[in-house]
Symmetry: C2
Subunit: 158 residues, 2 copies
DNA sequence: GTATGAAATTTCAAGGTTGAAATATTGCGG
DNA sequence: CCGCAATATTTCAACCTTGAAATTTCATAC
């Protein structure tokens, strides 16, 4: 007599519990995102997508291609075009031609962009601490680990 | 000699851990959202915001005002106007005048909308189970509880 | 060298999102 | 009744987002 696979042994409401988890996950991230959006606008006249691009570029001082940004940020190519366009107009980001391949150009933070980003990043960290400060270190570690596992499994399968 | 407040006793990387938690939370919900969006489009020629509105109305057979929807879904008033407009055009939702107050109208699912929603909801549940099936029941409960606590604290303070 | 397919990017239409301003209606104090 | 603040909603400009089509450049087989 073989045993049933693990998932049929789970209490029958496991699926319901995971559905509830998704709904709460979504609501939590929307709450935080909307508060972040509001404050980025208020304090820096900026937006979350712009902040994301600056953060990505900050980690790569040698610059990134448009497609690098798109892949890293999980947004479409066409989307990146518009956001970078506006950041260039604001003087926070530069695009330099790349010899050897005229299809691409390297996107980098300007000095102003780097200054700007460090200000925004400091505020951002403080805000997150304000929002999530009540989550204990232990809970944060557990949650974080679960989400990491989820994402690894996801990306292996897709 | 008094002791320092609790949060200064925590290991100094607690803030970093919570920041990491936020980043993973955001990435996880974006991954899932984007997969859901794609499938709603593919299988039902619909969108996540439309699904959200249908779900809200399904829970309230007597109908909701525009402002009820806006409050419940955490999106702006103007936003709801457009989404409901399109759902009406699709015949999934109706708006009925309300005597006694000509500013408002009651938004309800039509019979077609109800049929449509139950199809979508079944697919939605299966998809979430597909995405999150690897999260154990225990983890799901813990995570869910943490997120619920976070939201309660948040909403008390804001 | 030249077609031709691959790769990187841009353009575009449709929709979602916000916050602020504009409209319409109600309710109420005087 | 009349004015006027409060309430419910719509309109609007600006931005974000996607997926598909168009464009440009590269690389390679012939």
């Amino acid at each position: 007599m073989v045993s049933a696979p693990l998932d049929t042994i789970e209490r029958p409401n496991a699926a319901k519990e995971r559905l509830r988890l998704w709904i709460r996950l979504l609501r939590a991230s929307r709450l935080i995102e909307s508060e972040l959006r509001e404050r980025l606008k208020r304090d820096f006249d900026s937006t979350l997508p712009r902040f994301d691009v600056l953060a990505a570029l900050y980690r790569q001082p040698d610059g990134m291609l448009m497609s690098d940004l798109s892949r890293f940020l999980l947004v479409s190519n066409g989307n990146v075009t518009g956001i970078v366009e506006r950041l260039v107009k604001d003087g926070l980001v530069s695009r330099a031609a790349r010899e050897g391949d005229r299809r691409t150009s390297i996107v980098k933070l300007t000095a102003a962009g780097e200054r700007r980003f460090t200000e925004m990043a400091a505020a951002h960290e403080a805000w997150i601490e304000e929002f999530l400060g009540d989550v204990s270190l232990g809970d944060a570690e557990r949650l974080s680990a679960t989400l990491k596992t989820f994402r690894s499994n996801w990306e292996d399968g897709h």
